[in-house]
């Protein structure tokens, strides 16, 4: 198995786990907050607002403008 394939599978596994945690948070009984509720809680703080806005903006610029 090549390094490329291992890395891609690792990313895919993490993405799948993130989706799974969100589904468990929404429909399961485990006491895990949804990502949305976690973010809304963090966004009570001014620094988190600016930080997350920057992260969003940077992701767009990085991928669509390069």
């Amino acid at each position: 198995m090549s390094s490329h394939l291992i890395t891609v599978l690792a990313y895919a596994l993490i993405a799948a786990l993130l989706v799974a945690v969100e589904l468990v948070a929404r429909f399961g009984t485990a006491r895990v907050p949804t990502l949305g509720s976690l973010l809304r809680g963090a966004l009570r703080h001014r620094a988190a607002q600016f930080g997350l806005l920057l992260a969003w903006w940077w992701i767009g610029w990085h991928f669509f403008v390069g």
Partner: protein, 191 residues
Amino acid sequence: MPILLAALAVHVVRRNVFDVVVFGLTVVVIGIDRYRRFPVSTPRRAPVPSWLVAAGAILFGVVIGATDVAGWPVRISLAVAGIAALWRVAGAPPAATGRTGGPAPAGRAPRGWLTWAGLLVLAALLELSSFLQQPDPQTGSYDHPTLSTLIEPLLGSTVFRMIALAIWLAAGCWLVRACLRPGDRPPGERR
């Protein structure tokens, strides 16, 4: 702030001038806002309907996605979107308290937040590991691809780019709405 400074340091190493400027300015803005709030310019008003946000995001994705990759329409529209979002949030009243109008609860993370934190840290470590194994900061590696190395070829497709842009703008709108009304949950949303 420590995370922002660490990210700023990475961009200095990568010699990405735009990223250094944006991250540096954000650090400055946060510092200024902490000690002296930006003047409130807009009163609290009714949020834009979700269907209108979705329609706008789709229109944005289709129109801007149809233009050349990294062309001037994309640059200008992304810059305007970012500045508009920052302006809207910076000029809003201090953090809202939720629907009851009472004081914000003490800053305590909800139970189970470690699950999210653990997965995101894992993703960040994998990305960092791939980045460090690149031949140099500006060149991707096939054997150890970063997310950028994997996603950028897909963005060559016009359809994929349109969808990605629409999702990006919709995410930004959600973020601005959540900044203006932290703690609030849209009607009908579960948990």
